[in-house]
């Protein structure tokens, strides 16, 4: 054993290493001769090419089994998530605060809303059709051009006071801000069969000393019209845009932080998943300073 632990001097080690790198006696580099290196490299190249090929083949056949319009499983998307605009995140979730008298604190928020609604301008919605039925819009066939399905138009003006058209500041400067609520898309998801899903915003914990939250919803009643459902996926409905609901909060108490929750009330939408704060509802903190 003793020999195994013999300390070698640095120069000896270097010499050994040099010899390992290039051994003039046997013509070996790094323990192999050149031709051996070529052989082994060829083997590995071949091996990896074959393995990559096999893997590619597997992935290819996997892709072949996939339905291009509908995913095989949607068990993780039983209920849609809900998002809010403007979206400013604090340490824990959405956290919006601004000062009414200081326009710099809210121009960004307003800007976000304008940007967001750009996708809902008449020009952007040009390819979509006008729907008025308020019933679920089942399309089994591909009636639209290019083997697609029709999508219903949703334009910003449907949000009336919160469309940014009448009031470019979305009510922020008067302390009655507009918030836009959007429900996530899920292929072939029907929020309910008969009644349109409705947004309902309230204080999370109704403070005793203030009035219940008063909200003006746009479109009226805060509903997502049923004709926007179901969604058939981006291949069938390339121009589909989510319906929106704007909530204009009328009596937010000044200078206090309140937590507001906007839930979607519909037959198939749940908002009580303890793990997922964004499923079927959206919570946000709001603080308006005067």
């Amino acid at each position: 054993m003793a020999a195994l632990h013999e300390k070698k001097s640095c120069s000896q080690r270097m010499e050994e290493f040099q010899r390992y790198c290039w051994n003039p006696d046997t013509g070996q580099m790094l323990g192999r001769t050149l031709s051996r290196w070529v052989w082994i490299s060829l083997y590995y190249v071949a091996f990896y090419v074959v393995m990559t090929g096999l893997f590619a083949l597997c992935i290819y056949s996997l892709m072949c089994t996939l339905d291009p319009y509908t995913p095989d499983y949607q068990d993780r998307l039983k209920s849609p998530g809900v998002t809010l605009r403007p979206d400013v995140y604090g340490e824990k979730g959405l956290d919006i605060s601004y000062n009414v008298s200081d326009s710099r604190t809210w121009t960004n928020l307003v800007h976000t809303l304008h940007d967001f609604l750009e996708g809902y301008s008449p020009a952007a919605q040009e390819d979509n059709i006008n729907c008025t039925s308020n019933k679920v819009f089942i399309q089994e066939s591909f009636g639209a051009p290019n083997h697609t399905k029709f999508s219903c138009k949703f334009t910003a003006d449907m949000l009336q006071n919160c469309s940014g058209l009448q009031d470019p500041n979305f009510g922020f400067e008067e302390g009655k801000p507009c918030f836009i609520i959007k429900m996530n898309r899920i292929v072939r998801f029907l929020p309910s069969n008969t009644t349109a899903p409705r947004v309902d915003c309230a204080f999370l914990d109704q403070p005793k000393d203030i009035q219940p939250l008063q909200v003006e919803y746009y479109p009226p009643n805060g509903t997502f019209s049923l004709h926007y459902f179901p969604y058939y996926g981006n291949k069938a409905q390339p121009h589909y845009s989510n319906p929106l609901v704007a909530a204009k909060l009328l009596n937010v108490p000044g200078n206090t932080e309140v937590v507001i929750v906007c839930k979607i009330l519909a037959e198939h939408v749940t908002y009580d998943n303890p793990h997922d704060p964004f499923e079927g509802k959206v919570e946000f903190k709001l603080k308006i300073e005067n």
Binding site: L4, L54, P71, D72, N184, G233
Partner: protein, 1045 residues
């Protein structure tokens, strides 16, 4: 014990006389050697021993002075209170075991050894990462703290486990050594008491019978015809006479001191049958205690398997750290935050370190240790299990290990013919021709001229196992005649003994006169045995075929030829003769006077010769053959005579039948020894004298140039020199030994093997392994198990290393390609410490692939446990295939949930943002963060299942390294299937049983995903079968060199 009493029946052949002359000088050398060893050790270890010089003058004192010195009384002994005080002052009379490493140190060693350091680094990095996160953002998640804690727990738990295993095997040993408490007969308060030897104190008066172990260092006060076996102290197996006289200044050589742990062989029956002595030193202060404590100073060599594991840890740590650092740099240069990069680094370390492996190795070793214990090899140090497998030289003791350690009649010579007697241990059936009249006479002499007796009450015990009172030769003769003739005591009764001259070394014969059992024959029968040449001198006739014939020149020559031949076999030869005293001269009433010798002592009738040997154990020759075919060199190292040593070596095969020593060749060619070409000799017998004059180089030359070596008449210190010489040849050396004097060699050896029955405690303490049955054949079993465990550990490691790549690739792909993390760190731990544990242990149960005992022992520097082909094949071939299979499952799950592979690429940043709650998939659906997280965990589970399924294939292919699985038998090792079942069950529980516990990041997985990787598993199997096929088809080829691990 004491099978050798050359001053009694010496083998005066081939210069044996010279040997005897040198013996005297040699003895001193022996002691000198012993002490110089001690001094040498002392130089190396300036411990408290330095001050403890042997300072003993009690042998010079008279009884009176002794009484005063120790405040005792020779007749009444110590009083109990005195004894209690002394016991309290001096401590118990036992050798304190070698200083143990404190338990806490042992425990901590387990905590920081091996991979533990890497994991600690990982854990600490986790905590640091959390600390940084926390300082940036008070609400950061505790994931890193959990991970760090889990890693720390893993280290601590595996540490505790390894410690527990180690402790358990030590405990077996401890319980073993306490099995036989020694008793001592002591005089205290004027009463004889039997007390445990541990309670003896200085000044105690003890009585010793023949066969007792001397319970402490004693100064003999009264001893008649006392002989002791000092072999446990000096290695010399010849009995030493002991008396009360002060004969030598050196306490080691004076006759009136008996040493602790040596054996008292015999004490004259008359007048009291016991020897009395005063205890002058107890426990560690005894001579043997000094040697034992000095021997413990010899550093324990690192076991080969420990070196191999260290090598393996270096490889894995090297890979882990280099990949970790490489990707840390890549990550940083890819503009990842440093904090993220640290987390990647942790992931890479966790993926690379086989957390469960060290525990697995420990379990595997202890399983083998248990199996070996069943086969009478008790392993003290778990790692020693493997050492025996890599052993390339065994330095074996002769007595007791190779031989049965009892004299047995081996040959008879009468009627001008040599007959062979059966010397095997159990089936003691003599088959030689017993019809001759000579045999009838000879058998009578053997029976009658013998003082040995069976201890009463052993009728049911097999003859060979009965306890006999008497010396070794007489015992042999007694047993021999009991077997051949039946009840010896009855025969002796019928032939009443009227006179007897016991053996003494001047006469060199033993004689007795009996009445015959033939009532018509009134003659006395005088029977005699002794050194053959002395007996022959007294004879004028010789019995042939039952008839007395005059002893002429030719018969005398025949006698000498037979004598030489038997002596040449290393056997102790006895001559037998008798004489019927004529009834006229010696009437029935004649009174024989043994002092006056009033009976004839010449013109006797020579009957025959009988030779005895301590015969080899019947299992040994086979074991030696096995060792030889296993490429293990067996060297005999003995204190015995070269001739006996050589004879035994020949009969067990240490010197094979057709090989000759230089002397043999010289004799055959009738030339001088110097003229013989040393190249021709395959075997050599080296005596201690020759060895003493050899330089290191000469010894090396002897060790390398002769395949068959016997060292005879060696001292214990020379044993150490021989071991060191062997180790210079890069050999892994096993040493067997039993005496205290062997303990330095046992320690020095790579594996010390102590004898369980004959071995002293000091030897057992110094050894790594104890042979419970003192049988050499058990070593071969041990070698086989050791080699098997090495092969199987290779398989286990190959199995474990493979999935490292499958665990590592997800991280690399995650960092470079930016897909959502395919496999979480916690999940990796569940593979390493969950599904993979039982299967990797199961591989320990795999049977040997082929003639494991037909190949050379591994070269400890060349044949590594983890070699390049193993690492390369596991990492770059099977590991890669496994990763691809697991990735396929991962991609399938994501694709079927809506994220196609093309979408996944570079999705990582968006995917992991907590405030992106509408991430679009390939179908335009939008996902919240939690929905994605859940999908990610499903991905983890899928990847986990993918690896698990392919690990089943990996497990199956690892059953063999060369043979096809179908040659090995798919179902022969049932434990493998237990392993597979455990994998599947653990995975089922994790996926379905704990699916709702999100903390573990497992989700319910659709049943079909379990089968996605199955084709890959089969691909792995097929690929490996092809590999093995080519290895078998083209041995030595390029393929073999690169693919065989």
């Amino acid at each position: 014990m004491g099978q050798k009493t050359p001053q009694i029946y010496s083998v005066e052949l081939n210069g044996a006389k010279d040997m005897k002359q040198t013996d005297k000088g040699d003895d001193k050398d022996k002691y000198r050697g012993l002490w110089s060893t001690c001094l040498e050790l002392r130089k190396n270890h300036h411990k408290e021993h330095v001050t403890k010089e042997i300072d003993l003058d009690d042998h010079k004192l008279s009884n009176k002075e002794l009484e005063n010195k120790y405040h005792t009384n020779i007749v009444t002994g110590l009083s109990s209170t005195q004894a209690a005080e002394l016991l309290a002052r001096d401590g118990p009379n036992a050798l304190s075991p070698p200083q143990e490493t404190p338990e806490i140190i042992k425990f901590l060693k387990q905590m920081v050894g091996g991979f533990s350091i890497l994991l600690w680094v990982g854990a600490i990095l986790c905590w640091i990462a959390y600390g940084i996160q926390f300082s940036n953002d008070k609400s950061s998640s505790l994931d890193n703290v959990y991970l760090g804690t889990v890693l720390a727990l893993v280290v601590i738990l595996t540490g505790i486990f390894a410690y527990y295993q180690e402790a358990k095997s030590t405990n077996i040993m401890a319980s073993f050594s306490k099995m036989i408490p020694q008793q001592a007969l002591v005089i205290r308060d004027s009463e004889k008491k039997i007390i445990p030897a541990e309670q003896l104190v200085v000044g105690d008066i003890v009585e010793i019978k023949g066969g007792d172990q001397i319970p402490a260092d004693i100064r003999l006060l009264f001893a008649q015809g006392c002989k002791v076996d000092n072999s446990s102290l000096t290695g010399e197996s010849e009995p030493q006479p002991r008396s009360c006289e002060f004969t030598h200044d050196n306490p080691l050589e004076t006759k009136n001191i008996g040493f602790y742990s040596t054996t008292c062989l015999e004490v004259s029956i008359s007048p009291v049958g016991t020897a009395t002595g005063m205890v002058i030193n107890t426990g560690d202060r005894t001579i043997i205690g000094h040697i034992a404590s000095l021997a413990s100073g010899v550093g324990n060599e690192k076991t080969p398997i420990a070196t191999e594991i260290e090598h393996f840890v270096h490889i894995v740590a090297g890979v882990a750290i280099s990949i970790g650092v490489l990707f840390f740099i890549i990550a940083v240069s890819m503009k990842y935050r440093v904090l993220d990069s640290i987390i990647f680094l942790i992931g890479i370390i966790v993926a690379n370190v086989p957390e469960g492996l060290l525990a697995t190795v420990t379990v595997t070793l202890s399983l083998t240790a248990k199996r070996m214990a069943k086969k009478n090899c008790l392993v003290k140090n778990l790692e020693a299990v493997e050492t025996l497998g890599s052993t390339s030289i065994i330095c074996s003791d002769k007595t007791g290990t190779l031989t049965q350690n009892r004299m047995t009649v081996a040959h008879l010579w009468f009627d001008n013919q040599i007959f062979m007697a059966d010397t095997s241990e159990d089936h003691f059936k003599q088959t030689f021709d017993q019809s001759s009249g000579t045999w009838a006479s000879l058998s009578k002499i053997i029976t009658l001229c013998n003082r040995a007796e069976f201890r009463p009450g052993q009728e049911r015990v097999p003859i060979m196992k009965r306890v006999v009172v008497g010396d070794a030769s007489e015992t042999a003769l007694l047993k021999f005649s009991e077997v051949v003739l039946g009840d010896v005591m009855e025969i002796r009764k019928r032939n009443h003994k009227v006179a007897e001259i016991p053996f003494n070394s001047t006469n060199k014969f033993q004689l007795s006169i009996h009445k015959t059992d033939d009532p018509t024959d009134k003659r006395f029968l005088m029977v005699m045995k002794g050194a053959p040449e002395k007996i022959l001198e007294k004879c004028s006739t010789i019995m042939v075929n039952g008839q007395e014939q005059p002893l002429d020149q030719s018969t005398a020559e025949a006698f000498y030829t037979a004598y030489m031949e038997l002596g040449g076999l290393g056997e102790r030869v006895l001559g037998f003769c008798h004489l019927y005293l004529s009834a006229d001269e010696f009437p029935e009433t004649y009174s024989f006077d043994v002092d006056a010798m009033n009976f004839p002592m010449s013109n006797l009738c020579f009957v025959g010769l009988l030779s005895m040997i301590d015969p080899p154990r019947s299992t040994v020759p086979d074991a030696i053959t096995k060792c030889r075919s296993a490429g293990i060199k067996v060297i005999m190292v003995t204190g015995d005579h070269p001739i006996t040593a050589k004879a035994i070596a020949k009969s067990v095969g240490i010197i094979s039948a057709n090989s000759e020593t230089v002397e043999d060749i010289a004799k055959r060619l009738n030339i001088a020894v110097e003229q013989v070409n040393k190249q021709d000799a395959k075997a050599v017998v080296v005596t201690g004298m020759e060895l003493k004059d050899m330089s290191e180089d000469q010894l090396d030359e002897v060790l390398t140039s002769y395949p068959e070596i016997v060292f005879a008449r060696t001292s214990p210190q020379q044993k150490l020199i021989i071991v060191e010489g062997c180790q210079r040849q890069d050999a892994v050396v096993a040493v067997t030994g039993d005496g205290v004097n062997d303990s330095p060699a046992l320690k020095k050896a790579d594996i010390g093997i102590a004898m369980g029955i004959a071995g002293s405690d000091a030897a057992k303490n110094a050894a790594d392994m104890v042979l419970l049955d003192d049988n050499f054949a058990s070593i071969v079993t041990g070698v086989e198990e050791g080699r098997l465990i090495f092969d199987n550990l290779k398989k286990t490691i190959a199995y474990t290393l493979t999935k490292n790549i499958a665990e590592l690739c997800p991280f690399l792909i995650y960092i470079i390609v930016g897909v959502p993390l395919p496999l979480g760190t916690i999940t990796i731990l569940f593979i390493d410490l969950g599904t993979d544990i039982v299967p990797s242990i199961a591989l320990a149960y795999e049977k040997a692939e082929s003639d494991i005992m037909n190949r050379k022992p591994r070269h400890k520097k060349k044949d590594r446990l983890v070699n390049k082909p193993l690492a390369v094949y596991s990492y770059l071939h099977i590991g890669l295939m496994q990763s691809l299979g697991a990735f396929l499952v991962y991609f399938t799950v994501y694709a079927q949930e809506g994220f196609r592979p093309s979408t996944l690429i570079n999705l990582r940043v968006e995917w992991e943002k907590d405030f992106v709650n509408n991430l679009e998939d390939s179908y335009g659906q939008e996902w919240t963060r939690y929905q994605r997280k859940y999908l990610e965990w499903t991905g983890y589970t899928a990847f986990f299942i993918g690896i698990m399924i392919q690990q089943i294939a990996d497990l199956i292919i690892r059953k063999t390294r060369k043979n096809s699985i179908f040659q090995q038998g798919l179902f022969r090792n049932k434990v493998i299937w237990v392993g597979i079942a455990s994998q599947i069950i653990i995975a089922l529980i994790l996926s379905y049983g704990l699916g709702s516990i999100t903390a573990l990041n497992f989700t319910m997985l659709r049943p079909q995903y379990w089968f996605v990787a199955v084709p890959h598993a089969f691909l792995i199997w097929v690929y490996d079968e092809v590999r093995k096929l080519f290895i078998r088809l083209y041995p030595g080829s390029w393929w073999d060199k690169n693919m065989y691990y």
